[in-house]
Amino acid sequence: MKLIKAVIRPDRLNDVLKALYRVEVKGMTVSRVHGHGAEAETVETYRGTTVKMELTEKIMIDVGVSEPYVEATIDAIVENARTGDVGDGKIFVLPVERVVRIRTGEVDSAAVTPVK
């Protein structure tokens, strides 16, 4: 079991969702985050105050998948989140020791396989 954490651009989310759907990865958790990286910073001005905004809006996707799905998931994300400009984001693959489906108590692979 792996937890795949991907940071992507907000406007790529819908395409990534669709692509994951196509590779049968149907469960995931999404959060709004702010990223800091090599992307150009924006300057904002409010009255006399000028600030450099070091953070840009990103979306983080957490997907728990069993081993056979890892490559497909990564590929689906990379292909659909890529624009080629700096700031496209990163994917982290973390090892997972256990997954539990709260509703049924099922564990591991069974827990991430969607109900039909």
Binding site: L13, N14, L17, K18, Y21, R22, E24, V30, R32
Partner: protein, 437 residues
């Protein structure tokens, strides 16, 4: 004879009172969770439609038609005879419009007791029926030549009984009939947007100058008196409220302050044109106390009058109505003297009018709700309640980020007006299995 300045003042007053309904939408809407924000606001807004249409159809006629002591008649149905001729010093049609805005806001006020659980179609039916069966007759009693005015001689300058006691009673029983929200008492109801509550309170105050000041139906001294009292009474309420808050929680709360504004405004409503400004300060100050403690106490009961319509409008209206009987001065133009001018009987008249309105409104409201309950579900189901009524009743979110929202389009409708053909077409998200490969 029609007076142009009176017309000008009542015109703008009518606009101010109409603004109170959106203001109420914000006052109420800010107090609920975000998942119910739109539903709560819609309950006020839809009153502008339901009451706005029923008033010319039949409501006005039942309220102000000659009829008998208890109800008007059908003589002015569909605004028959409501023309530009003088009614007092303003055109009859303006009086109709001014009164119409009162009908709208009164119906909307009740909604605060049923937020977070009432099904919207049932709510629409309810306020329609309530307007015709409760609001119109009660208005007739007090302002349409009915018994509260003529027989009882009770005073109600701008609607302490007609509007606030009436709505407060309906709210109380509606909360009882519907029952509490499922998570009531377990999950705290925190206001999702207190600035909206303050916005609502600020706009309500603004609009209330039309409500009370306009009720003079002329740009005269009575209007000035009512106006000034509408400015001073809530100021006093606020100060007492702030002191109670400081004593109780050591902090002056914003939601408390917003509530205090409304309580002060409600309390001066029946008295506005009949009492002196100093009396207005006293009325405002006194009115803070019962409502403050009623709010504290209500939250500890099983009575889910969620936004405390009874504590704010019901009690504020009762206190105001009684104190009108205390402070009314014929020297200021009040048609009846109050206790301060040596007429203790007026206090009794006032109390009786309150009881009558309260009882009638309470009983009829139960009846209307039970009757509607036979036809339509009064409440949404538990799952919808958990999910929030914005989604369940309206299919919308108040604050949407658009993430994860996939467009649904009818393929056949696309392209009819396709003016930029080489641009890729809006695509329907396809989930069929062949596509998924």
């Amino acid at each position: 004879m029609i007076s142009a300045p009176d017309t000008a003042w009542v015109l703008i007053s009518t606009a101010l009172v109409l603004l109170m309904t959106p203001a109420l939408a914000f006052f109420y809407g800010g107090l609920v969770r975000s998942k119910n924000a739109l539903n709560t606001m819609m309950m006020s807004f839809i009153a502008m439609s339901v009451a706005g249409v029923l008033w010319p159809l039949v409501g006005y006629s039942l309220a102000f038609g000659e009829g008998n002591s208890f109800i008007g008649d059908f003589s002015m149905v569909l605004m028959n005879g409501v023309d530009l001729e003088a009614n007092g010093t303003i055109p009859h049609m303006l009086f109709f419009a001014f009164q119409g805005t009162f009908a709208i806001i009164t119906a909307a006020l009740v909604s605060g007791a049923v937020v977070g659980r009432m099904a919207f179609p049932a709510y629409m039916a309810f306020i329609g029926a309530w307007l015709v069966l409760v609001y119109a007759p009660v208005t007739h009693w007090v302002w349409g030549g009915g018994w509260v005015d003529h027989t009882l001689g009770a005073l109600d300058f701008a609607g302490g009984a007609v509007v606030h006691v009436n709505a407060g009673a309906a709210a109380l029983v509606a909360a009882y009939v519907l029952g509490p929200r499922k998570d009531y008492g377990r999950q705290a109801l925190l206001p999702h947007n207190v600035p909206f509550v303050l916005l609502g309170a600020g706009l309500l105050w603004f609009g209330w100058f039309g409500f009370n000041g306009g009720s003079a139906l002329a740009a005269d001294g009575i209007a000035v008196l009512a106006f000034t009292n509408t400015m001073l009474a809530p100021a006093a309420t606020l100060l007492v409220w702030a002191i109670l808050d400081l004593m109780n929680t050591k902090r002056v709360t914003a939601v408390g302050l917003a509530t205090g504004v409304v309580v002060g405004l409600v309390s001066i409503t029946p008295a506005a044109g009949f009492v002196s400004p100093v009396s207005a300060l006293v009325i405002g100050a006194l009115a803070a106390v019962p409502s403050y403690f009623a709010l504290e106490w209500r939250a500890r009961t099983r009575l889910d009058d969620s936004l405390d319509v009874f504590a704010a409008h019901g009690l504020g209206g009762i206190v105001g109505a009684i104190l009108t009987g205390v402070f009314a001065q014929t020297s200021l133009g009040s048609p009846a003297a109050g206790l301060v001018e040596g007429n203790p009987g007026q206090v009794l008249s006032q109390a009786l009018s309150v009881i009558a309105v309260f009882a009638y409104s309470g009983i009829l409201t139960v009846g209307i709700l039970k009757a509607i309950g036979l036809v339509l579900p009064l409440r949404v189901d538990d799952k919808q309640e958990r999910q929030g009524l914005d989604l369940a009743n309206h299919g919308e979110e108040a604050y949407s980020t658009g993430e994860g929202a996939l467009l649904l389009l009818d393929d056949e409708a696309v392209g009819v007006f396709d003016m930029d053909p080489d641009h890729d077409k809006p695509s329907r998200f396809v989930t069929t299995s062949e596509e998924a490969r």
